[in-house]
Amino acid sequence: MNPSYSVIFFTTASGFGYGLAFWLLILDSSNFPQDRWLSGVGLALALAAITSGLLASTLHLGQPSRAWRAFTQWRSSWLSREGIAAVVSVAMIGLAWLGAIAGMTGTLLNAVAWLGIVAAIITVLCTGMIYQSLKPIAAWRSSLTTPIYLIYSCLTGAFGTAALMSLFNGDGSLAAVIALISALILIAMKMAYWRRASQVVHLTPESATGLGKIGKVQQLEGPHTTGNFVSKEMGFRIARKHADKLRKIVLLGGLSAPALLGFLGVLDNGLAAVFWTIATVLSIGGAVVERWLFFAEAKHAVSAFYGD
């Protein structure tokens, strides 16, 4: 699949923003907001990441002005569900943020914060399900696809929360430990995802055309001499060439290194803010590479008709 930059930016930026809002709100949830400055700055950062991601996702639309129509088909479409959940979560997180900077407290604000927490989870869940539900892409039809999206959001958001808390003289150790555990879980999940992806049964030229009964099937001549939408959107080979190196970058630079930094921050509270900020940046960078691979490595069933 062609890795579209707007979709990669959307899923990583919004994923980070939702994770950040989730942890800021949930660590505060007994009595939101406990620290007006932390909530004010942290949620503003989360909202900026989420909305810039959502805006970027409209960039790949052919008719962005009709995007509102995407809220109508929630009965059948994960993309529609994601759109609705995204708008609800932005509204709730935005209200919680306004309440926090206005110095409000109380049950109503707590309820809004909780709605934001739930909507954030649902949005990321829908994002994962959009991909996991697509039948023509065998690698994505893994029960790990959606959990990986969720835990990636959890990881980047928790490191961001840990860094912000330590910057605002709080103790970010709990968030850092959560991030560390998320990173370790993701290492195991991504390795399992890639192992499965190398074994999945793809459509072949023989099975796709039904000509396998005659013998081996090769494409003699393609239907078009230059590329077309299908060959450009669904066929992408560069990633398969560099897959091994990029996977190592994700596992070492994007997950192991931030996990180590998270641990060092817990040990040495003096430098925690520095360690966790670097861990946040590394884990988001790792998420971008992971997401690029997720798309670029995925083989679409239509490739079989083109002899692949």
Partner: protein
């Protein structure tokens, strides 16, 4: 509405494509383009049509495959277009309601006025039947020539899809595949017509008829000596 129609209307209009007789002339693809460039889903934009890298929207694409090798091997020409599936995931993933499957005849269509061009439907189609029109910003696909088959301005014998009408070898057939007694259903039963990529569960309406078993080749040049008659006499005379 992108939920699939849940009434059990039995009419399922579609195509039957005969891989035995198709000669790969691309007339179906060209006539499809010709009709639809001005039809229901118009325009079918071409980018750089006279330049070095022309590309554009087509609803029908003809592959040529080599199946098997040596004596059993053969060339198979293979037109590929929308199969108007009974379980089209391209419809259910659509967030806007632009993609829909008609309850009355099973045709899968795109309402261009609702499409936002998110391209997710093209990802959900394993057959590569949907092509994005970057000029119009919306998705395009085969309409089964909905503006021909129900078109009362056309003489009745022309109310068939453009690809079927133009095929010089009658390798394409149009009809109701939901009716077991229709000509197309009988043809599918008689020739062992099959679904493409059945394992993915889309339940395509269109069927493909497999190439007939290859006959022992009769076209080897005869190189034996003539066994009788005038030719034998001449042969002997010249050989001496």
């Amino acid at each position: 509405m992108t939920s699939l129609p849940n009434n059990s209307a039995t009419k399922r209009l579609g195509l039957v494509i005969d891989l035995d007789t198709c000669v790969g002339c691309h007339a179906c693809a060209v006539n499809c383009k010709e009709w639809n460039a001005g039809g229901h889903m118009a325009p079918l934009t071409d980018i750089d049509p006279y330049g070095a890298e022309p590309e554009g929207v087509w609803f029908n694409r003809v592959h040529a495959y080599e199946a098997g090798d040596r004596k059993t091997g053969r060339t198979v020409h293979f037109p590929r277009s929308c199969l108007h599936c009974a379980e089209p995931q391209c419809v259910t993933v659509c967030p806007t309601g632009a993609s829909y499957k008609r309850a009355e005849d099973g045709i899968v269509l795109v309402d261009e006025d609702k499409c936002i061009g998110c391209k997710l439907c093209s990802w959900a189609c394993p057959y590569g039947a949907r092509e994005y029109d970057s000029h119009s910003g919306v998705m395009k696909k085969c309409t089964l020539c909905i503006d021909r088959i129900y078109n009362e301005a056309l003489p009745e014998n022309e109310r068939i899809p453009a690809c079927v009408a133009t095929c010089p070898t009658s390798a394409r057939h149009f009809g109701d595949l939901g009716d077991p007694n229709s000509d197309v259903s009988q043809l599918v039963a008689a020739r062992g017509g099959y679904d493409l990529a059945e394992e993915l569960g889309y339940q395509p309406t269109n069927k493909y008829l497999p190439p007939r078993p290859k006959r022992e080749s009769q076209s080897q040049p005869a190189n034996e000596e003539p066994s009788s008659g005038l030719l034998r006499w001449v042969d002997r005379l010249l050989s001496s």
